[in-house]
Subunit: 254 residues, 2 copies
């Protein structure tokens, strides 16, 4: 039997909002058809991988209704499943929104690090006051496509920091990344946590949390404070660093 | 005695290529003077922090030769040292060059993570064939200024992967981040290394190392192979993730 590699680097990967089953034919909407035809230059017989967040990853072939047409209507025909769906990680990422370009990067990175929920949180030193959830979703999907992630995370509307305790309580631990706690060894702190519970990782704004915010967070019951080293980190760097620490000690890197 | 905070977020920070001593007056070249006047809008009496990579960080005040001039000549007068210089980390970052915009980000992130040397390495699946060392340096300096790092890393010209064994041998360990080693727990592997030796962290291109490259690297004497989890990471994400793993287990995060 041919052993399928876990990831195939050589085929493009596309998120499709439709059930995926053996032999299924999937009609594409205009955007998807344009993307395949114009960006990927896909013609009849073109191979790619598709996933929908619940039915695993499938090998698909492009079918054109009429190859002689300049812009044929494209559909997908599924052949075999290349990877099975697995449960999403119990890893929630809470962050203070930053400017658009870096936030796009940051969301993509959070997906690469395997988060299952993305929650923007308004804080006192927040750089921006609005979040475009559609854009969060688009970036999350793009990162899934590029990096072979089968579970696109759920992206939420902007919440207040005061809602964080309720979200994080009773269902696991809040990991509060506190830039003023640079001497706290993250391994030691994280090693005390339960691997099977939901972990909510909270990263502050680039100006840091305000004194009252820090006091509120430190006073919570289910909170674990960790430092992220002795240097100042940009928000997108802090995201990868904090999620690496959690994945190394509690998550799927072990 | 007033306790100076480790980092001052509220003052801009500028790298100056000149000796820094108490009371010194530093003439600025045209670029620096323009940057202060036009970007930071600095006038006579404006306060900022300066560092040069060897004399620590100093509080400085801008002095204008003639405030009535539209573009006065600016100089800096140093008052007190705000942070002492410390030894650079023994942490070398070797990477396969990527496209410019992401590489700029990646170099900045490596600096935030505390590397002391930045070494671009040509590999079989390299995306680009040339590296602009001046641009590496400029990005490294900018990250130092933004993130309060006092030791700008040394940036090297592009080397061949075949030169890596010589560079990494006899003076510590090469940590080879192998995307096909996803099941290797990085904590376990890194815990076997000596904290006092130079660690060279090697990240491959986004297409991965070639089979012959992997064979060569795995056969080295002073090599430690680590995985970076079960997902594909972009090169800049892999940089932060790998350097976080090293700093958490061996470096200044402990």
């Amino acid at each position: 039997m041919f052993h399928m590699p876990v990831y195939q680097f050589n085929l493009p990967r596309l998120f499709i909002n439709a059930p995926l089953t053996e032999g299924a034919k999937i009609e594409l909407d205009k955007d998807q058809s344009n993307y395949l035809g114009n960006v990927l230059r896909a013609k009849h017989g073109f191979e790619l991988l598709v996933f929908n967040g619940s039915d695993g990853e499938w090998l698909a072939k492009v079918e054109a209704d009429d190859e002689t047409k300049r812009r044929p209507k494209l559909a997908l025909k599924l052949s075999e499943q290349t990877r099975q769906q697995h449960a999403p990680n119990k890893l929630r990422y809470l962050f203070s929104p930053i400017k658009q370009a870096r936030q796009d990067y940051m969301v993509q990175k959070a997906v690469e690090m395997g988060v299952s929920e993305i929650v923007p949180v308004r804080t006192d030193h927040c750089q921006v006051s609005r979040v475009n959830v559609e854009r969060l979703n688009a970036n999350a999907i793009e990162a899934c496509e590029q990096c072979g992630v089968l579970n696109p995370p759920i992206c939420y509307e902007l919440i207040s920091l005061l809602e964080v305790p309720e979200i994080a309580s009773g269902e696991g631990q809040l990991v509060f990344c506190d830039e003023s706690a640079s001497k706290l060894d993250p391994s030691d702190a994280l090693n005390t946590l339960n691997k099977d519970e939901m972990i909510s990782v909270l990263i502050g704004p680039e100006g840091g949390f305000s004194a009252s915010e820090r006091q509120m967070l430190q006073g919570l019951e289910n909170v674990t404070v960790i430092g992220l080293g002795p240097r100042i980190l940009r928000a997108d760097t802090a995201a990868v660093a904090a999620l690496t620490a959690v994945q190394m000690v509690l998550g799927d890197w072990t």
